[in-house]
């Protein structure tokens, strides 16, 4: 009932025209590449080992199994702790690039039509397919033991401003999208796969509709051009008018990003893991915003240099889009396997004044919580109220800061409230 709680979403200026028409430029990896490793990752090579492009060099080995593949050929030099696109410091494998890109196929292709459901899930795990929407969640986990799934929802919404990478990839590789989606449909045991695309991307919709003509169960659904339409909960409510507690599986839905389906298809058909990424490098801080095809581990600085450089001396570099991406303190941060965009913006000159309690943050919060009240509760240190206000439900989508007319960092306040709540719960 939006009349009682507000629209919970909003059309943003996408600035997509900056990059949606240009070619995808190929980026050449420099002398060294740095492959970030999440905590719990085991390194499979020793210092000085020769590596080929495609070699499995590390494997995440905690509760999730995610192999990590080299994006260049050359030599393994060791580990360095560097800044990640999330702004955190993490270990990176340092690989010396010999420039030859000698490829060694790490696994055999698989025929999705012949393989069993279990074989496909196993394959997905071993191919290191992770969610390409930005968060990098291992995809096989969603299908392992999936039960009662009626629909696979392919998220091709791309609601963050500036980003056009998904749009580009789908345009170039629409057959891979269909192949990957069909395989996911089979793995989920679902009857239907819905590919959700913003209704403003008319050409893409036509192209995908044409490509799925002969694929039973696949349909395109047009969704409004609003933020955060690409968030699982918002998208599912838009498509199914249903809410769920923790996971979409509760209402019989698995959600995967369109790019993930394409990466999965490439692994199945050509035995190729995620080694390159198509990323949008955009924003008013750049001379020539573009989409690029870049090997994993190349620094942002290298990429930007190859597409024309910065527009001015002072900029903000954001790992991802401007809403959910975090600023980084150096352009030595590298493109990782889950990257889809780098946004470079001029400095923000807005200054905050007192909250006028207009409630816009409440009305537009996609999670249906009350950012202004959470900010008040956080300032007052009222953990009990923070619990009641469900500060834990914030996904830090940035909407509240975006809409705030007083230019307050509302999201940061909610983030602090969330942290306060978590700290209390740990006690």
């Amino acid at each position: 009932m939006s009349i009682l709680i507000g629209p919970m979403k909003l059309h943003l200026n996408g600035h997509k025209e900056l990059t949606s028409h240009g070619e995808v430029k190929d980026i050449v990896a420099g002398k060294k590449v740095y492959i970030p490793l999440l905590p719990g990752t085991e390194i499979l090579v020793k210092e000085g080992d020769a590596v080929k492009k495609g070699d499995m060099v590390a494997k995440r080995n905690d509760h999730f199994k995610v192999p990590i593949f080299s994006s260049v050929s050359g030599k393994y030099l060791g580990v360095e702790c560097l800044e990640h696109t999330t702004g955190r410091m993490v270990d990176h494998l340092v690989l010396e690039n010999d420039g030859a890109f000698t490829f060694a196929q790490p696994f055999e292709p698989i025929d999705a039509e012949k393989a069993s459901k279990e074989e496909l899930v196993e394959f997905m795990m071993n191919a290191g397919i992770i969610g390409c929407g930005g968060a990098g969640f291992p995809s096989y986990v969603k299908y392992r033991g999936a039960k009662g799934i009626h629909t696979v929802l392919i998220n091709a919404v791309e609601c963050e401003p500036y980003i056009t990478a998904d749009y580009k990839i789908m345009n170039i590789q629409v057959e891979e999208l269909v192949y990957g989606t069909k395989a996911m449909l089979k793995m989920a045991g679902a009857e239907k796969a819905i590919i959700a695309i913003k209704k403003t991307k008319k050409d893409l919709i036509t192209k995908v509709r044409e490509a799925i003509k002969d694929a039973p169960g696949l349909v395109v659904e047009e969704v409004p051009d609003q933020y955060p339409m690409g968030w699982e909960r918002t998208l599912i409510f838009e498509v199914f008018k249903k809410r769920y507690d923790k996971l979409p599986g509760e209402i019989g839905v698995i959600v995967n990003n369109a790019t993930t389906a394409i990466a999965f298809s490439e692994a199945m058909r050509y035995g190729k893991p995620i080694m390159d990424k198509i990323c949008t490098i955009s924003g008013d801080g750049l001379k020539a915003p573009s989409n690029v095809r870049v090997p994993v581990g190349v620094s942002i600085g290298d990429v930007i240099e190859q597409i024309g450089g910065y527009a001015q001396e002072e900029v903000r570099i954001i790992g991802g889009g401007p809403m959910m991406g975090k600023t980084v303190s150096t352009d030595q941060v590298v493109i990782n396997a889950a990257s889809n965009a780098i946004t470079v913006l001029k400095p923000d000159d807005s200054f905050a004044i007192a909250c006028l309690r207009c409630g816009r943050c409440n009305d537009y919060c996609p999670a249906g919580i009350q950012p202004v009240r959470i900010n008040n509760a956080e300032e007052a240190g009222d953990v009990k109220l923070l619990t009641k206000l469900r500060a834990d439900q914030c996904i830090e989508c940035g909407m509240c800061t975006y809409v705030c007319p007083s230019k307050i960092e509302v999201t940061e306040g909610v983030r602090r409230g969330k942290a306060m709540l978590q700290a209390q719960q740990k006690k």
Binding site: P322, G325, G398
Partner: protein
Amino acid sequence: MKFLTKVSPNNRDKDHSTQGIMAELSVGLMVVFVFSMVFYFQEYGMDYVIHGVLLLVTAILVALVTEAVFALATKKSIPAHLKSSFPLVTAIILVLTVPISTSLFAIGVASFFAIFVGKLIFGGFGHNIFNPAGVGRAVIVSSLMGSTVADVTTGATPISSMGNAGWMIKDAAVTEKFLEQFGGLTNLLLGWYPGALGETSALLILLVGAYLAYRKVLDWKVPAVYIGSVFVFTTVIALVNGVGMWYPMFHVLSGGLVFGAVFMSTDPVTNPTTISGRMIYAIGLGVLTVVIRLQASLPGGVVFAILIMNMMSPLIDKLTDGWSIYSTKKYGISVAVTFVVGLVLTFVAGNGLEPRAIEFPREGGGIAIFSDSTANLPTVDSATEEGDLMVYVLSAPGYYAIETGGADNKIEVSIDKASGAVAKVAILEVNDTPGLGDRIDAASFLDQFEGISFDDQEAGVDAVSGATVSSLSAIRAVRVALEEFNK
């Protein structure tokens, strides 16, 4: 190269800012002010416009000075403080809620109270509990009502006339005559009549409000629910009392309801922060406005309703705290319950309203001496025989007494015992506005009464121009004396 870092998100809505909201609001308010000035220029002349502009200038100056002194005292930069405190909006709203006869002194004091007591002592913009302009207006209503300008006066306002009529007119002919004084409901909508400066033209305010809502300067739901509730509540009262649809329309169109709804009830600082909360708040405003109008002697009701509901905002916020998407049922029930309670309260307040007799201006000018009115009747202090004459001394409520509860006027009426006709009327004491109300002590006015007797039921006199209420005190005194003599 320098890489700046800040917390996410790194995207701002560049089309909406609090400064922009306040600037657009000021422009919208000024449109209403200009309309009002055009009206006074056309109907009353340039002197009125000058006074109106002076009121605005005084209110703004006092507001600015108050803010500046506060900034100095709290060691803040004055320009930076002014830019984020928005005194202009408060000052303009305040001026638009007062009648043109308000003195510069009164508006200055009210402006100071609005800014200082209404806003700054709570911690400044964003922290105030009450609508600052509402506070200023309340100060005038409660203690500066008598501080008016002598040579700037206008006729009775629809809301005070309705208040004198007991908020109920059942006779169809009387209703028509009553509404006709103000040019009918259509003119109430258009606003071509004297009243509080900015509160008359419901149509213009609604147009400005619609534009501001479209620009997202204000939330349209608050005025819509507020006005809608008043309409529904008073429709029920109209049905119960068997009067027509003019009744709810009159409630909506008069007494600054539309102005208060569009410009004051939407003040975000004093509103609840959720949509459901704002709906409950708006219904509460409707209930209080109707109850105050019908049951208290306060003419408008709107300002006090807003100030009372302002206090409820934190409570309403508390009520709606939670995870909104799983609270819609609770929200829906809360809104519905508030509405039903409001319906009951206003029904009780409006049930059994008794119409009071109304004094109308006589055709061809002048005021009839005899009427059925029971409002503000003088009391007989003494009756003494002096030769051929019967001399009555009466205490008659004049402007001062009626509007501020001050002392009555003392009037001596001598009646010829033989003929029963008025021999002489003398004013012993006037407490009304000096230079204006006291002009009833003029022979040209008082001589009109001579020779009128109880049998001349159609008799009437011309009121002193610009001192209708004071004149009425003398007219009523003569009526009561004649009635007393003929008992």
